[in-house]
């Protein structure tokens, strides 16, 4: 009897060892997938990199001649437009939801409105990017006659990152202790003075995290810009000129000209950019975590 129990107990630990081995294997598989993608892109792309590539414009052609300077400029302009439009609106929305609408004295109507607003944010976050592209194409490219341009792509991109900014900003605002607001209001300030003078500065690192995250989203986005930006490799001359972001350039190099090595080179720069962005985000959230709670 006792030996049977012992054998059973021993088997339980064998099962556990086997299961944990499988779990380690899952972890290893994920790491291996990442290592495979990053190493492959790095090894293939490294030889094409260099200062010259960064400062010369692409010349088109079947082997993807030239560098990537105009795509870098286009990407940076897109980041500026999308964040410039989405950040004030997104942070404003988060401030309203967290600082104004959350007050208990609001009636039933106010609560319904907040629920509708939150539903909007949630839905927007779940919309696939190609639908933002279709939308941008229908409204900005066609209906408003902006054509395939930085404006069209930037505005469609702003819609894409809006939910990211609203969500992170709300989280940042929620982390500001209520005592800050009470202290400020007790001094006789208006609601807006409290928000702009006390709450927003205290939430600044969190707000910045959201903006950095959405910069990453914009530089890695392809589908939206594929249908709104046109894809010309010329250097943009105005906000109404079309263009090609770096991610889009990777696509065209791989699919149209089959210049895989050049595509990998541009891809490597994108990956390095994403790594840097992740480092900044992690650094910021670590600083936030360290801040003494009050």
């Amino acid at each position: 009897m006792i030996s049977a129990v012992r054998a059973w107990s021993a088997r339980r630990y064998q099962v556990e060892r086997l299961a944990f081995a499988l779990l380690w294997l899952c972890g290893a598989l994920a790491m291996a997938a990442l290592a495979a993608v990053v190493t492959y892109v790095a090894v293939q792309g490294w030889p094409t990199l260099g200062l010259e590539m960064l400062v010369t414009p692409p010349r088109g052609g079947l082997s993807g001649e030239g560098g990537i300077s105009s795509t870098i400029v286009t990407t940076l302009l897109l980041v500026l437009i999308t964040v410039g439009v989405a950040a004030p609106v997104g942070v404003g929305a988060a401030v309203y939801l967290n600082e104004y609408a959350a007050q208990p004295r609001g009636g039933k109507r106010a609560r319904v409105m907040v629920a509708v607003m939150r539903f909007g944010v949630e839905t927007l976050a779940g919309v696939p990017s190609i639908i933002f592209g279709l939308f941008g194409y229908a409204i900005f490219v066609s209906a408003l006659h902006f054509g395939f341009s930085l404006v069209s792509a930037g505005l469609a991109g702003a819609c894409l990152i809006l939910p990211v900014i609203i969500r992170t900003a709300e989280e940042a605002l929620r982390a500001v202790p209520p005592s800050y607001r009470q202290g400020s209001l007790a001094l006789g300030t208006t609601h807006w003075q409290t928000v702009s003078g006390v709450v927003l500065p205290a939430a600044l690192p969190g707000l910045f995290t959201g903006i950095v995250l959405s910069v990453g989203r914009v530089i890695s986005e392809t589908a939206v810009f594929y249908v709104t930006l046109g894809g010309s490799y010329q250097m943009p001359t105005s906000l109404l000129s079309g263009g090609r972001s770096m991610a889009l350039h990777v696509y065209f190099l791989a699919m149209d000209t089959r210049a895989f090595d050049k595509a990998m080179g541009t891809g490597l720069i994108l990956i390095v950019g994403i790594v840097l962005i992740n480092l900044v985000v992690n650094g910021l959230s670590r600083r936030l975590a360290k801040r003494p709670a009050s």
Binding site: R12, V15, E16, F20, L22, L23, W24, C26, G27, A30, M31, A33, L34, A36, V37, V38, Y40, V41, P88, G90, V91, G92, A93, V95, Y96, Y100, M117, F119, G120, V121, T123, G126, V127, P128, I130, I131, G133, L134, A138, I139, C159, L162, P163, T190, H191, I219, S220, T222, Y226, V250, Y251, A254, F260, A263, M264, G267, I271, I274, I277, N278
Partner: protein, 297 residues
Amino acid sequence: MMTTRLVDRAMRCLLLAAALSAIAIVFLIGLFTLREAWPAIQQVGVWPLLSGTEWRPGQGEFGLLPMIAGSVLVTLGSLVLGVPVALGCAVFLAEVAPHAVRSVMRPCVELLAGIPSVIYGLFGLVVIVPMVRQIPVTGNSGFGLLAASIVLAVMMLPTVTNIAEDAIRAVPREYKEGSLALGTTHWQTIVGVVVPAARSGIVAAIVLGAGRALGETMAMIMVIGNSVIVPTPLDGNPATLFLSQARTLTGNVAVEINYATGLHQSALFATGVVLFALIMIVSTLAHMLMGREAEER
């Protein structure tokens, strides 16, 4: 004093406007997509659009069934390949991994989530597709559902892992302690207590992964072949279905929208509507599943 009050009022209105932006954009997206899709829905009809197997814009045939089948099959394929590993990673990170391993692996999973989809597509095109091409079946081009499912499985891994890990971490400590105090092994506690307690979060993770898979565009265009056919097995073995080329709903929109006009363009907007409807169906199903579970408790 007067002006500060005025500023306060004005800012309140401005912030309200900002807060309404998200729902306004959702409304505009629905309005514009439906408005543009309307001619196709009206002239082709809802049922021919959904069940038609021929997509020949030149001849005015707009059947979306090949693309619906492609999107659904590639999503299922990626779920089968990706979800077990992703959930394994979630349990591993939340319960098993030593602190040092975890502190290395977390940023790696974040990086996996951040890598642009076009780079996954490129990797799939240059590495996965030639590998799949090695499978000796007549008509196997390498491009197709299998290559696309593999690429998507990697892309959805961080989404599923992150949310499932959070769900597992949110299980109250007492549950685990109670189970362990009964003399179970750590693994028995994970299987019998922790994972069941985190079930609704895990379902949500899988659904979000499926949504990500359905919505992926660029990587799919690059590896799935884009042929407008309802995928069929290449030979007698039904498993060769996954070696068939296909086209996704997202790919259909992206590939053709820039040169489409008239009814063709409208049909592409209808494709977008169908895509959105599919995603809504998936998330509604998930809500229902989770809702029923909440009632059981």
